[in-house]
């Protein structure tokens, strides 16, 4: 053991009570830092999972008009406008994806793509025997869509079964809120009207994503059915893409736009306002809790300054025996470091314990997601950032008294004390 550390350990006992106060401040500061970060990022994570499981990581929509080239005269979507440069806001899009199957094939070539699902979408009016309401129909190939969403789990949380949907050409999966409003249960039949078309379907399952805006209007049906109901014999409204690494979505989306000449939107871009709100919440929680650490740092500073005053005689003795100014400074830095280490380890344990406890605490949240207990996200980074914050505060609090102690002149102290 370093001799300076040995001396520091003995000095530590000189002011046990105020040391314990600063120590517990750091334990609580670091602990709560971890807990609040685990919570805010837990809810963010849950929100991201919900939206990824509902709308996918990337959505391909709308053909980008190839304005750099001359349009073939036969192009049915041809427009009269002509541009040479295409800054993003000036780009022209043509609604929908024209050749979805070719597009699917192309998308599967991307290394990060784990699933692709074609969606044909349209507005309908849903009629139960009690009420009618507007809804949005999404025509899907079930197995493709299961690979890009959490639909299975969403139906699991609702009622009915996917198997029934799979085997029933006229089957529907309906959002919980919509089903409630139409007073429908699984097995009931419902009429969907789109334009002049009108057909009868059977409710195979009710799903709940937790996102109220979706559960209130969305209906899934088989792709072929959607094509005939919505009179969209070819093409697709959009393609939902799932990724292995969701964090690469913006780069992948940009690359897809380039290669496929279709608009591609990543989930980060799509949900930017929510993500920013979560982020702001997380930072404000970090700042609030950091004040606890800051205050215990002030206490720590105070305690160390008192120890320096109390131990001037010892400092003079050490200096007379050949201990250098750095040795003296290090003793006090060690004091800070000991408190820091014990405080942060205690903080980690407290943080982890409370995080675990909170994750078991039941709450009922609906709206932007559906959660039945507090959401927490376990990340080493919460512990690292908490530790760095405490480290900066405590070490700053230790360095100032340490420098003062190092500056003391042994002669002055001895004369001062011996008179």
């Amino acid at each position: 053991m370093s001799n300076n550390l040995r001396i520091a350990l003995r000095f530590l006992t000189a002011r046990k009570r105020s040391m314990l106060m600063s120590l517990s401040g750091i334990v609580f500061g670091v602990g709560f830092f971890i807990v609040t970060q685990a919570q805010t990022s837990g809810f963010e994570e849950f929100f991201v999972k919900t939206i990824l499981g509902t709308n996918g990581a990337i959505r391909i929509e709308d053909k980008l008009q190839a304005t750099m080239f001359f349009m073939p005269a036969t192009n049915s979507y041809q427009e009269s406008e002509f541009q040479l440069k295409t800054p993003r806001e000036a780009r022209k899009y043509i609604e929908g994806v024209e050749e979805p199957d070719a597009m699917m094939k192309a998308l599967r070539e991307f290394r990060n793509v784990s699933g692709v699902s074609i969606i044909v979408e349209g507005s309908v009016i849903a009629d139960s025997s009690f009420k009618n309401d507007t809804a949005k129909v999404l025509g899907i190939r079930l197995d493709d869509h299961l690979a890009v969403s959490d639909l299975a789990a969403q139906v699991g949380r609702g009622s009915g079964s996917l198997d029934d949907f799979r085997t029933t050409p006229q089957g529907l999966l309906m959002g919980l809120e919509l089903a409630k409003r139409l007073q429908l249960v699984v097995g009931d039949s419902v009429i969907l009207r789109a334009g002049t078309e009108q057909r009868r379907y059977r409710l195979s399952g009710i799903f709940t994503t937790g996102v109220r805006d979706i559960d209130r209007i969305r209906i899934y049906m088989h792709l072929g059915e959607a094509r005939s109901l919505l009179k969209k014999a070819t093409g697709a409204s959009s393609i939902q893409v799932a990724l292995f690494d969701r964090d690469r979505a913006p780069q992948d989306a940009a690359q897809m736009e380039q290669v496929l000449k279709h608009g591609a939107q990543s989930w980060q871009e799509r949900e930017v306002s929510w993500l920013e709100a979560f982020h702001a919440l997380q930072i404000s929680a970090a700042l609030t809790v950091s004040t606890i650490i800051l205050i215990s740092g002030l206490g720590m500073f105070n305690t160390l300054a008192m120890i320096v005053i109390e131990k001037t005689k010892e400092i003079a003795i050490l200096r007379s025996m050949g201990y250098t100014r750095q040795d003296i400074a290090r003793i006090f830095i060690w004091l800070g470091a000991i408190v820091l280490v014990i405080g942060t380890v205690g903080g980690w344990l407290l943080g982890a314990g409370v995080t675990y406890g909170v994750s078991k605490y039941p709450i009922h949240l609906r709206g932007i997601f559906s959660a039945d207990n507090f959401q927490v996200h376990w990340s080493i980074w919460h512990y690292v950032v908490g530790t760095i914050t405490a480290g900066v505060v405590v070490m700053t609090a230790a360095i100032i008294p340490a420098r003062r102690a190092a500056r003391l002149e042994p002669g002055d102290i001895i004369r001062g004390t011996s008179q």
Binding site: R10, T13, A316, L318, S320, T324, R325, R415
Partner: protein
């Protein structure tokens, strides 16, 4: 370190014309008024004089704990009075053992730890060698059975003896002791003084001590009487 006399002659410590002012402004006092002095290896020198004449002040300067306002100090032929703090600190650790008038010990540490403290800094011995040497030094000053007592659990005289053992820990060439027997009875004064003289003779260490005890002073090799910040003869 044997008693052999090397080329740097047998002068371990030398100072010339030391001046020291203490206090500020109106209260500024000319405490030392030109102190010159030599301490030889193997010699025990006593500085005597009335209270307040400047004995402790002189010793602090010689022990490199304080800086003179004028004059020079050589430790083993090295001019130290103007050298850097780190050089002075290193010299204190290696060549000087200091016994304070008000025997300062490290409060939270045992007698043994206190004696080991300078050795730990010097770092020339292994842990068990340091402990053995510290125990033997404490035995020499008559505290062989109290090595593990905390400083606070020792009497004034016992603390003083621990401080002496500590000053001897690194076998310094120079031992500066400010009234080392001030708190001791006749018997222990004798033990401590005999120890210091024996070391001076055996190891060729230069011992400079301040004392008010005429018996002790008379047994020294040299007596330097001081009055009003000057040596008088």
């Amino acid at each position: 370190m044997s008693a052999k006399v090397n080329s740097t002659a047998d002068i371990a410590l030398r100072c010339t014309n030391l001046h020291r002012y203490l206090g500020q402004g109106e209260g500024r006092v000319h405490v030392l008024r030109g102190v010159s002095f030599e301490a030889r290896r193997g010699n025990v020198t006593a500085i005597v004089g009335p209270s307040g004449c400047g004995k402790s002040t002189t010793l602090y300067l010689l022990g490199l704990l304080d800086r003179p306002d004028d004059g020079s100090i050589w430790i083993r032929d090295q001019l130290m009075s103007n050298s850097s703090d780190s050089d002075r600190t290193a010299a204190r650790g290696e060549h000087i053992g200091f016994v304070f008038q008000f025997h300062f010990l490290m409060q939270e540490f045992s007698a043994l730890d206190n004696v080991m403290m300078p050795m730990r800094k010097l770092g020339k011995l292994a842990e068990d060698e340091m402990a053995a040497r510290a125990a033997s030094l404490l035995n020499d000053v008559g505290l062989g059975d109290k090595t593990h007592r905390l400083a606070t659990q020792l009497s004034g005289g016992e603390q003083q003896r621990v401080a002496i053992a500590r000053a001897l820990a690194n076998q310094p060439a120079i031992i500066l002791a400010d009234e080392p027997t001030g708190n001791l009875d006749a018997k222990n004064s004798g033990i401590v003084f005999d120890l210091l003289t024996r070391l001076a003779k055996e190891n060729g260490q230069a011992v400079v001590l301040v004392t008010h005890n005429p018996d002790i002073a008379n047994r020294c090799d040299e007596i330097k009487p001081m009055r009003d910040g000057e040596f008088v003869n």
